[in-house]
């Protein structure tokens, strides 16, 4: 192979170094106006007065919208519970109440300062425990009226927006007969995606249709969600994607797009709406905070007999995609290690806080934190080495998850444990005062959702790839998909041009989520290539007077096997076909078939299986400063299974970047919620990892090609963030000899643990 497996440089590399790459926030249209939202300053309350007459009269203002100006409807990803504008009640700090559009950003801001808004504050549901307390106020007293999509129903009641339960036989019996029962409670804070480019939208309305310019991971979802929110047909909305300044899951659902669209229709001019950093942080669909209780029954010999897990997730003031995430524990708590029956109850609850949502490795970060911290506690209780205990209980090929899904290749786990051991022997790490070592594994899916690609061979011999998939920074489009397409036709990667997304042009793609783009779109390209290749060979066979089956594609040429002098360039083939039989093009689509599961394994809304699973082991070595509590990461090792690394340096970048986001989650990034309000309100207060904080991750790639994946590729980008908090927590506990069961494990937390308070 000439392209696949090479570290080909990114197609967007140069334009991103010259400032010429057009990001969403760089879009400037003729006559463009600027919008701003009036947002609730309090987490819960009743709107007593709202008077925007002074705002509307302010010089330069071109329009004002509130709930009374639009149809009274709610929308959402899976539950129709979110209004565009609060009308009678506000349910979280930052909830939009009104929108203003003006000639400049400054005018919009000055004008909004003249709004008369009076809110009578009400008791707020500030955290998870408040939400499920007896007699807790209801975040949505009208929760029963919220519609769900046809055919989707799940248990919900009051502040519990979704509940998933699995209660197999034999759990209580196993606990009754156990030699020991180990019990833990873990807590995880919210994590802000903290992409560098704030969320944005620029919308136009031409009298019939909307065009929305975005920097978004999932343009088709913007199209559908905007259409539903403002009550037009999806094809009345065209979404054009530009370079994305980071997303990490926060740019999968709609945000500002419906407001920009409404204001564009209202004002008759293009409208730009961009969050300032503080409103972005306060209203982002952060990774959900969670409380996880876990009990495991073990036998005298350390066998894992049964487990009982209770997970509470904070959905914030609306459901977003959280009801689906309540099924993720089903895929986590019976994975990795052989175990008897596992009872799992997961509830997502409404609170008067900003809605939470998707962040790289959804829920997996806190669920594996709980699972792998708990495994350390079990090993410690049994007085068995933590690594040894894991290794002696590892799942092997053909083991089953609580869902009934069979993990055909779970034996890769053992190989991953071997690989980190070769990087640095376990017994040599974490030695010496104030030092510790931790290990954690994970199994994770490659998102199966559908995608497509259309290929066209241009008459200059270059290949065009048309897809609605997005390049969110990972390199999946800028390298991976491009290299796969190049490999198919014997082209260098720089002869392949992939379009930016446009929902008017390309067929559906499910967006950059769940490490899916290279796997799914790469496979769609291979499907399309069958047809395109046949057209190339047919045309070339005529030109070369050879049989199509005797031809091969090498170095931008079509040539006859065994007689390299008989050849013709792809450009000539394309030009000839274009003139004589029509342009060469073809389309392919792909979605991963779901592995079979037992559909009665649980009640609730199920994301049914973890298709194309991958297996990973992380090791962290840390040193604690006992006077300040600061945790320094000395070494960080990763063994990651990737199927096939299409671009090894790009894969390395995903692992390094994912681990550092995981370190931020584990140690520094803090969103404390006090009575429904975040204590941290700026990037500075939030505490992102800096260059001076981060170790160079030592990496081993394991390659077990997936027969269904393009050249064997599986998902890569999500797993590196998932086991980090667990590995770090285990290392910190090893270093200080005290439990640290809440993340982030800040320096203050370490000091508190050390001082025994």
């Amino acid at each position: 192979m000439t392209e696949v497996g090479q570290s080909s440089i990114r197609s967007d590399g140069v334009v991103k170094t010259t400032g010429r790459a057009l990001f969403g926030t760089d879009v400037i249209l003729p006559g463009m106006l600027h919008a701003r939202l009036l947002r609730s300053p309090v987490p819960a309350g009743r709107i007593v007065a709202l008077d925007l007459s002074k705002v509307a009269e302010f010089p330069g203002v071109r329009g004002v919208l509130t709930a009374v100006d639009i149809p009274d409807r709610r929308s959402g990803l899976v539950l129709m519970d979110a209004p565009l504008f609060a009308s009678q009640f506000v349910r979280f700090e930052g909830e939009p109440i009104a929108a203003v559009v003006a000639e400049t950003r400054a005018v919009a801001k000055q004008a909004l300062a003249l709004a008369v808004l009076e809110i009578e504050e009400m008791p707020s549901v500030g955290n998870i425990e408040d939400a499920i307390a007896q007699n807790a106020p209801l975040v949505h007293p009208d929760w029963e009226s919220f519609a769900t999509p046809p055919g989707l129903e799940w248990p919900r009641a009051g502040n519990v927006v979704a509940e998933t339960c699995s209660d197999p036989e034999g759990v209580d019996e196993a606990f009754a007969g156990a030699a020991a029962i180990i019990e833990d409670r873990f807590e995880a804070g919210r994590q802000y995606q903290a992409y560098m480019e704030p969320r944005m939208a620029v919308a136009e309305f031409d009298g019939q249709r909307f065009t929305i310019h975005v920097a978004h991971q999932f343009p088709y979802n913007v199209r559908d969600r905007v259409a539903a929110a403002i009550d037009v047909s999806p094809s009345d909305v065209r979404v054009i994607g530009h370079h994305i300044g980071g997303g990490f899951g926060a740019k999968l659902d709609t945000g500002l797009e419906p407001y920009a669209a409404l204001l564009a229709r209202h004002s008759g001019r293009p409208v730009r709406l961009v969050n300032d950093r503080s409103e972005d942080l306060l209203t982002c669909q952060c990774r959900e905070n969670a409380v996880i209780k876990i009990r495991t029954a073990v036998s005298q010999s350390g066998e894992l007999l049964a487990r009982d897990v209770d997970v509470l997730m904070d959905s914030g003031a609306s459901a977003t995609d959280i009801p689906f995430l309540t099924s993720i524990p089903m895929h986590v708590f019976g994975s990795l290690y052989r175990i008897g029956p596992v009872r799992i109850r997961t509830r997502a609850v409404y609170t008067n806080t900003a809605p939470t949502g998707a962040f790289r490795g959804v829920s997996g970060t806190h669920l594996y934190f709980a699972l792998e911290r708990h495994m350390d506690h079990i090993a410690n209780r049994l007085n068995i080495d933590r690594l040894e205990y894991r290794r002696s209980n590892l799942q092997h090929d053909g083991s089953k998850l609580p869902t009934g899904q069979v993990l055909e290749d779970a034996g890769i786990l053992s190989e991953a444990f071997d690989a980190v051991e070769r990087l640095a022997p376990w017994t040599e790490l974490g030695q010496g005062p104030n030092r510790g070592v931790g290990i954690a594994a994970c199994m994770w899916l490659t998102n199966p959702m559908p995608g497509s690609a259309t290929l066209k061979l241009n008459s200059d011999g270059t290949l065009g790839v048309l897809t609605a998939a997005t390049e969110n920074g990972s390199g999946a489009i800028a390298t991976g998909v491009r290299q796969i397409a190049a490999e198919e036709f014997g082209l260098p990667a720089d002869k392949v041009v992939v379009t930016m997304p446009d929902t008017d042009a390309a067929a559906f793609d499910a967006g950059s989520q769940g490490s899916r783009t290279t796997h799914i779109v790469g496979r769609a390209i291979r499907e399309a290539a069958i047809e395109v290749r046949a057209q190339i060979l047919d045309t070339a066979a005529n030109m070369l007077e050879a049989a199509p089956e005797d031809l091969e594609l090498v170095n931008e040429m079509v040539r006859v096997f065994g007689s390299p002098s008989k050849q013709i360039s792809l450009a000539e083939v394309a030009a000839t076909a274009q003139a004589e039989s029509g342009p060469i093009s073809g389309t392919g689509s792909y979605t991963t078939p779901m592995p079979p599961i037992n559909p009665t394994c649980a009640s609730g809304l199920l994301f049914p299986a973890f298709p194309t699973p991958t297996y990973h082991v992380h090791v962290a070595e840390v040193e604690i400063d006992p006077t300040t509590g600061v945790v320094r990461v000395l070494r960080y090792l990763v063994a990651q299974e990737v199927g096939k690394a299409i671009n090894p340096e790009a894969v390395r970048g995903q692992i390094q970047g994912g681990v550092v986001q995981g370190l931020g989650y584990a140690l520094w990034e803090t969103l404390q919620i006090d009575a429904g309000q975040y204590s941290q309100r700026t990037l500075e207060a939030y505490g992102l990892p800096l260059a001076t904080d981060t170790p160079e991750v030592e990496i081993v790639l394991l390659e077990h090609p997936d027969p269904a994946g393009p050249y064997g590729a599986k998902g890569v980008a999500e797993p590196p963030i998932i086991p980090v908090a667990a590995a770090i927590g285990n290392a910190v506990e090893h270093a200080i000899g005290k439990s640290v069961n809440a993340i982030p494990i800040t320096a203050e937390c370490v000091l508190e643990a050390l001082n025994g308070s």
Partner: protein, 155 residues
């Protein structure tokens, strides 16, 4: 308020309110959008430009303060013919770019570093960019891109 300065070798005159930031002047008045607006609190470094060769956060720097001075933005790093500097090329070659939103600011911070210290060690590079946040890369490949340039100059 009248301000004259040299922007990427071109002389510029602007009439802007005295409170206008350099970032607003660049992005909105001059429509030079290579300089990025990310936090507007002087925390992330995405808006870094050079004023007389020194990196500043243009989001908290008044345009009036550059009167008579020279401002370099990312658009001014390479040649007018589209050529790019060895540092820019090294960013491309070493996968120092993912989403690329922090890249312009990093390039300016690092250009100033390399002007002052052509052979920085790893620690010096990390310290130099500790005011530039990158959420994607975890920084290692950025540091390697700088090392490769300084090693090239050494050899």
């Amino acid at each position: 308020m009248h301000t004259e300065f040299v922007l990427n070798t071109r002389e510029i005159k602007v009439e802007a309110p005295s409170t206008e930031t350099l970032l607003t002047t660049l992005r909105e008045r001059l429509q030079l959008t290579g300089t990025k607006e990310a936090c507007v609190e002087g925390e992330c470094g995405a808006c870094t430009v050079l004023v007389n060769g020194r990196p500043v956060d243009s989001c908290i720097y008044a345009t009036a303060a550059v009167d008579g001075l020279a401002v370099t933005t990312v658009e001014g790093l390479g040649g007018l013919d589209g050529s790019i500097t060895p540092l820019q090329q090294s960013f491309v070659d070493h996968f120092a770019i993912q989403c690329g939103f922090c890249t312009p600011g990093l390039l300016l911070t690092l250009s100033a570093l390399l002007d002052a210290n052509p052979n920085p060690d790893r620690k010096e590079i990390e310290n130099a960019i500790s005011g530039n946040l990158c959420r994607c890369t975890g920084y290692t490949q950025i540091v390697e891109a700088v090392e490769a340039v300084s090693q090239e100059e050494r050899s």
